[in-house]
Amino acid sequence: MLLIALLLVPFLAAALLLVARPDGAARTIALLSSFITAALAILLWVRYPGSNVTLLDLAWMPDWGLRFTVGYDGTGLLFLLLTALIFPFIIGAGRREGADRPALMNALLLFTQSALFGVFMAQNAFLFYIFYELSLVPLFFLLLFWGSAVPGRLGSAKAVTMRFFIYTLLGGLALLFAIAYCVVQEPTHSADFNALHALRLPGDVQIWLFWALFLAFAVKLPIFPFHSWQPDTYTSAPLQGTMVLGGVLLKMGLFGILRFVLPIVPEGVEFWRSTVVWMALIGALYAGIIAFRQRDLKRLVAYSSLSHVGLLCAGLFAQNTYGISGSLYQAFAHAVLVVCMLYLVGAIQRRTGTTDLEAMGGLKHRAPRLAALFFLVMLNAVALPLTQSFVGEWLMFNGLWQRDGWMAFAAVTTIILGAVYMLYAYQRVMLGPENAKLPQTGDADQHDHLVLVPLIAVSLVLGVFPAPVLNLLDGSVQQMLSTFTALY
C-alpha cells in the first residue's frame, strides 16, 4: 500500500490546495506532503527485497489491456526515490522566489509529482502512458501562468508553452500508437510490461517500431535534433518549473527507454544503436559548445543540461552493465545538479537583478559564501572525482568504450567542454574586480544553505560512497541485461 500512498499523498495535498487555496500556508502544506512522500519512499527502499515486486493489480479496462498494475524494481525504485527526495528541495526553493498564487503553484507541482510517481511505478504500458501524459497537464499551466518571455520570434510565454506542449504531445502520440500496435500483436491483448517484454516481433517491424517508441522519449529527454523546445522552455519557465523539467521530468524519458525501447524492440535497438548513440553524443558536444557563448545564465544551464542528457542517453544505449548503471547513476546526479544550478541562478538573479552574464562579475566580494556554494556545485558539474557525477560518467565511459572506442572518445571530450563553460560562467558571475553596478546585497542566507548544503552533501557523499545506489542498481541491471540477451 506504500505505493498507493505515494500516489495519493501528493494528489490529495494538491487537491486540498486547489480547493481551499490557503495562500498563506500553501508552502507549508506542500512541504509537509513532500516530506511525507520522501519518508514513504525511503521506507520503500528499506523494504526493497532485491527483485521485481508487483504490489497491486486491478482490472481497469481489461479488454483493452489496461490494468492498474503498479510495482517496482531496482531501477524503478531509484527513480521513485529521486522524485521523492528532490521535490522537497524544489518546493522549498519556492520560498525565495515569491511567486504569486502560491497555493495554485504548489498544487500544480504536487500534481506533477503524483503523476511522476505513477509513471515510475506503472507496470502496464497504457497506465504508463496515462501518467506520462498526465504529468504534462500541470506543467502546462505552470509554464503558462508563471513563464516569462524569452527573446526571439514567438518568444512569449504562451508561445513557448504551446510549442513545448504540442511538440511533446506529438512524441507521445507516436508512443500511444506503438503501444496500441504492440497490444494488438500480443496474443492475450495484455499491455502489462511483462507480457510486452516477452513479445517477439518480426525484425522488419522492430526497425520501424523502434522510432515510434523512441520518438516520445527522444523529445522528452531531449536528444539532438529533437531538442529545440528545451532551451527556450527552460529559460522561460519559472524556476521551480525548470527544476521539475530538468530534474525529474526528463528522467521519464530515460525510464521509458529502459521499459519500452530496449526490451520490446531489441532488434530495432541493435539496428539503430550507433545512429542513436551518435545522435546523442553529437548533441552532447553541440550543446556543450553552444553553452560556452550563452549570455543568459539560465540558458547556459539549459544547454549544459542538454549536454549531460546526451551523455545519459548514449550511456543507456551502450546497453551493458556499465553503460546502463552509469546512466542511471548519473540521472540521480543530474537531478541534484540541475536543482542546485537552478537554485543558484535564482539566488544570483535575486542579488544582481539579472541573469545576463555580461552584466555580472565580482559577486564574490559581496557574497563569498554564495561563491563557495557555487564552486562546490561546479565541482559536481565538471564531474570531478569524488563527486557523484564522476561515478556516473566514469561508468558510462567504460560502457561506451566496450561498444566502440570512438564513441567513448566523443563522450570523454565533453569533460573538456564542461570545464570550459562552467569555469567561464563561474568567472563571469563571481570573480573579477568589485562591481559597483551591483545593487547592495547580502551573502547566502540560512534559506540558501538549507536548500543547497544538503544537496551538495548528497553529491559528495554519493561520490565517495556510491555503494548504496550502485547495489540497488546492480541486481536489476543484471537481470534486465540477462532478459535482453535471452531475447536474441
Binding site: 557563448r293 573538456i416 555503494a467
Partner: protein
Amino acid sequence: MVNLPLHAAMVPGFPLLGALVIAALRGKLKGNAAGMLATTMIGLSFVVSVIMFLHTHAEDGPQVVNFFDWIHIGGMDVPFALQIDALSLTMMLIVTGVGTLIHLYSIGYMHDDARVSTFFACLNLFTFAMLLLVMGANFVMTFIGWEGVGLCSYLLIGFWYTKPAYNYAARKAFVMNRIGDVGFVLALALLFSRLGTLNYVEVFDRAGSLSVEMVTVVTLLLFVGAIGKSAQLPLFTWLPDAMAGPTPVSALIHAATMVTAGIFLLVRSSALFSLAPFTQDVVLWTGLITALLTASIGVFQNDIKKVLAYSTVSQLGLMFVALGLGAYSAAMFHVTTHAFFKALLFLGAGSVIHALGGEQDIRKMGGLKGVTKITYVTFLIGTLAIAGIPGFSGFFSKDAILMAAYQEHPMLYAATMAVSLLTVFYMFRLLFLTFFGTYRGHAHAHESPLVMTVPLMVLAVLSVAGGLLNLPHLFGGHEPMKHYLETAAEGIAGEHNYLSASTEWILMAVTVGLILLTILLAYNRFVKKTTLDPEPEEMSIFSRLIARKWMVDELYAFLWERPYGWLSTQFYGILERKVMVPITLGAGRWTQKAGKAARMLQNGNMSFYLFGMVVGIVVFLMITLYGG
C-alpha cells in the same frame, strides 16, 4: 610496529583534516593560526611518512591497503585503496618534506593577505590530492589525485581573483589539464576493457597478455595525460601563465610536485611503457623538443618567475627524455633533486619579490646580494645545483640523463647538452641581473624574516647533498635510490649501463668545461656590462620570435580559442536558431495548418452536415456488408 592501514590513512588524512578545519573556521582564525595549523598538519604527515619509510619493508614489494569498495558494480571493482612501495614512499617524502618547508615559508610570505586562511586550506587540500595521486593503488585512485591537484592548482593560480588575467590563467591551466585528462580516462577505459582490472599490481602482472598495438595505444593515451599535467608540448603554455599564483604555490605545485605527476605516472606504469618502443620514442622526442624550445624562451624572459617557469618546463622535458630512453631511475632522481633546487629557486625568487614589495621584473633589480644575503647565498646554491656544477645535486641527476642520452646516440647527447647549456645561461643571467651590479629599481629592499629564510637554508642543504641519494658507482657510491626504486617500478630493473668508466669521465669533463664556459659568457654579458634586453620590437626577427615565446600562445588563440568561440556563436546563431527552432515551430505550424483545413468542413450548412452523415452511414454500411 607500523600499523599499515592507519599510517597509510594518516599521511593524506592529516592535510585533508587541516584543509577541512581551516575551511570551516576560516572566518575565526586570526593571524598566523591557519598557517601554523596547515604546517603542523603536513609536518605530521611528513613524520608519518618518515616512520613508514623506515619501518615498512618496501623492498619486499608493494603493500596494498584496501579501505572500502568505491565503485563496485558488475565486473568492475575499483577499491578505495592505497599502495605503499618504494616509488610511492619516495614521492610521499618529497611531497610532504618539500611541502612542509613551503608551508612554513608561506606563513611569512602570505602573512598580510586578507584571505590567508583560504590560501592554506587550498594548500593543504592540494597536498591531500597529491598524496592520493602518488599513493593510489589503482589508476582511478591516481586519477582522483590527478584531478584534485588540477582543481587546487586552479584555485591557487586564481587566488587573487580580482584580476581577470589571473582568472584567465587559472581557467587555461584547468582546461589544458582537462585535455590531457581525456587521454588519461580513455587509457583507463581501454585498459579496463582489456584486462578487467585497474589495480596497479594486477595490471602490471597481466601487461604481457596485451598485444603490442594495444600497449602502444594505452601508453600513448596515458602520455597525453602526462603531457597535460607536466606541461609538455603542445600543452605547456599554461605553466608560465600559472605564475599568476602566489610564489609559494609556484614552488610547490608548479615546480616541485604537481608537474612531476606526469613523470610519476610514466614511472609507475613503466611496466607498460617498456613494452611499447614506439611510445617511448614519442616520449623522447616530445621531451626533447619541449626542453629545447622552452629553454630558448627562458633566455629572453624578464619576469623572474617566468624564467623559472620556462626552466621548469625545460627540466621536465629532460626528464621525459630520460623516460623515453628507459632511464626511469635517472628521471626519478632528477625529479627529486629538481624538487629541491627548483623549490629553492622559486622560494628565493619569492623572497626577492617580497623584499622589493612585489617587483618581478629583473630589469628593475640588481645589486641585491649585499642587502638580502641569505637569499643571495641560497639562490646561488640553487643556481649552481640546476647548472650542474660538480658536487651539487643537479650535477649527478643531470649527468645520469646525459649519460643515458649518450648511450642512445651522441647526437642526442649533444641536444640534451644544448638544453643544459641554455639552462646554465639563463639561470646565471637571472642570478647576475638580480643580485649583481647596481640596483635599478626604486623600492626599499629588505631581507625576509626567518620563517622564510629557514626553509631556504634547509632546501639549500638538500640541493647540495641531494646527490648523495643516488651517488653513482663512478664516485664510489652504489646508486641506493635506483636499487630502492627497482622494487617498485619494473622498468628500472631493466635498465643497464654499459658505458666504460673512461668514456664517462671524458663526457663529464666535456660537460663541466662547457658549463664553465657558459657561465663565463653570462658573466661577461650581464655583470661586466649589465646588458638588458631591449623591447622585442628592436630585436632581430629570430630573437623576436623567441622573445614572443615562439608565438605559441598566439597560435593556439588562432587555432583553438577563437574558432571555438566562433563555433559556439555560429552553432547558436545559425544552426540552433535558424534550423533547430524552426523544426519545433514547424510542429506547431503544421498542427495549425491541419486545423485550418479541417475547419473548412464546419461551414454551418445544415444540409451539408446531414449529407456528410448520410454518406458516412452508407460507407459504413457498405464496409460492414461487403468488407469481408
